[in-house]
Subunit: 360 residues, 2 copies
């Protein structure tokens, strides 16, 4: 068991740089998905921090986000020390964000264990999740970069996959390879093979191990880290980060490190995970009524099944509909078929074209 006193020091890093539009009109540029109570009555990012309880104290947790979201992060997570909100001067994919957070951890404890966790996912079975992270921490202590692999439940074409290799210890295994988002046929093959897990963006590693990996596989990024390191904790920190961060390549940690490193490991995880990718995913993570509808707020859902109906303050009535999404965000509303949830981007594009930025 990893615990703060007897085991290694654990430093969760919550990745909150996302700015998706897939939950418009609920999500907006100023209030992206991770700040919405999509799976429970609390915002996803609040559940994410709560999910780490027992693994690490809040003072060890940090959040990486864009400057525009730092105030809402601080407001939404009051237990988090203010200095633990790390601001990316610009969105440059996951490698630079993880690098910056890892640098901060290394300053506190070079052998500290970093747990990278996206802020906008849902986990139904928290004990199973914590057990997997605990096992990953133990493997990471040995110098491995560990990724959590989610047992796939469908031939999903929207995620990357991890092919599992030889056993290491416990349930942890070598990584045979990281596979890009597959086509449908390949995804079905992955599913029946039993050899593939979903890459959920969850990474566990020692700070010093990852900094070494950056030095090996991402020298440009590493050079920027070297420039930032002496400024950490000084008055110059913000200015130096602003100057150096844009020099880092805008690359994912998967492509920049995980697909290249030889010390990767994977811990399989069956924990009711969902990336809550669109309105279509809400029935996975929320309670359903007898007709399979997800409802929230003052709704009247009559003769309808398989719908997602989200009301704000005022009543929303849905009669005789099947598999549709109806959302009232208070200042804008949306209706579309549930299985075309991704087409919400067409509305966002139309709003942009009409320069209705107040609704973006």
């Amino acid at each position: 068991m990893a615990s703060e006193k007897t085991g290694p020091q654990v430093f969760p890093v919550i990745m909150a740089g996302g700015s998706g539009t897939r939950f418009w009109p609920l999500s907006r540029a100023a209030r992206p998905k991770q700040f919405l109570p999509l799976a429970t009555s609390r915002p996803l990012i609040v559940e994410t921090l709560a999910r780490l309880k027992g693994l690490a104290p809040p003072k060890n947790c940090s959040v990486v986000c864009g400057a525009v979201h730092a105030p809402i992060v601080r407001k939404t997570l009051p237990a988090l020390p203010k200095q633990n909100v790390l601001v990316e001067p610009q969105a440059r994919n996951t490698a630079p964000a993880i690098a910056l957070a890892t640098l901060h951890v290394a300053r506190k404890n070079p052998r500290g264990i970093v747990v990278v966790i996206p802020s906008d996912q849902h986990v139904a079975d928290v004990p199973a999740f914590q057990a997997a992270v605990t096992e990953a921490i133990a493997v990471a202590e040995q110098g491995r970069i560990v990724t959590l692999g989610v047992h796939p439940s469908r031939p999903e074409t929207g995620y990357g996959y991890i092919q599992v290799g030889a056993p290491i210890s416990g349930t942890a295994c070598e990584v045979k390879r990281f596979a890009e988002k597959p086509d449908r046929a390949t995804a079905e093959q992955y599913l029946v093979s039993g050899e593939y897990l979903w890459n959920a963006g969850l990474f566990v590693f020692r700070a010093d191990v990852m900094l070494e990996a950056f030095a090996t596989f991402m020298p440009e990024l590493s050079k920027a880290l070297d420039a930032i390191r002496p400024a950490l904790g000084t008055k110059k920190e913000a200015a130096v980060v602003r100057r150096e961060f844009p020099k880092m390549p805008a690359t994912s940690i998967d492509y920049g490190v995980a697909e290249k490193a030889s010390n990767m490991a994977v811990v399989p995880c069956r924990c009711g995970w969902s990336d809550v990718g669109s309105f279509n995913a809400l029935p996975e993570v929320r309670p359903l009524d007898d007709a399979g509808n997800v409802t929230s707020g003052p709704t009247f859902v009559i003769d309808s099944s398989g719908c997602v109906v989200i009301a704000d303050a005022k009543p929303v009535a849905v009669v005789g509909m099947k598999d549709v999404v109806v959302v009232d965000a208070g200042d804008a509303m949306l209706v579309l078929p549930k299985d075309k949830s991704q087409d919400v981007r067409k509305v966002v594009e139309a709003l942009k074209a009409k320069k209705l930025t107040g609704y973006l």
Copy 2:
């Protein structure tokens, strides 16, 4: 040609006693259908009064409505003299309302021509409508009770029908019979026969002729009128009407008089008439976009066809939908299939059951 100077005096009576729920959430108890701008940018009742321009001056027009709606009638129709708003003490179907209005007309001119016109219909071709009314007025002058019959455009099962009899003069004919709302097969038979017209609730008659008909066919009602007559124009009028009106049988003019009288006539009318009976009827009366959608307000209708999308102040986005009704009334919203528009009553029932009277 009937004109105010050279022809008979014409007294339009606009029937505004309706309190339907078929346009919820736009329509409410305090603001029923006739006060909504459903067909044009103006409320149906405003269009109804405008449709009479040239047939009669506003001072000859009256509106019959419930007490609760008298203020909104006065506000919506400022050109109408205030005393021309006749209040029904209670809703008792069309015969008592027409009787009360006819009594008022008879006091001004016993041979005055009453034109009864529902307040909540739409007419696309106003000149054709006026030509038919003008012809009906001429026939009514001869002592007939004339109904306007609308050429049917589909085998509608929601209306009563008029079977046309022998020609009288011009296009006016005897009425062979009034037929109740038919079943589908009968409606189809009516349509192909060419002998049947829709009963649209439009009646034209001399005041004295109708009062005589009431005396013959509705003696109880006639007795109440006799009690009201001496009080008209006096301080006691309101009290006497309140006392006598409930004594009148709550019967339709069709059942009470039209189906029984032998001096009925019908003038066929092809005037782009619609009763605007539900959201499903809006595509009949409103302009359509290229994909056959009706839209109003700030809407974003994308990859969708055959929809009715009504926004209030805030944007309503509809993506990938077919033949649905989406209505935002500002304080409540509704989504349902267009061809199940009548099921809106189920929402109204649910609101009643939950005692959410503020939304009724």
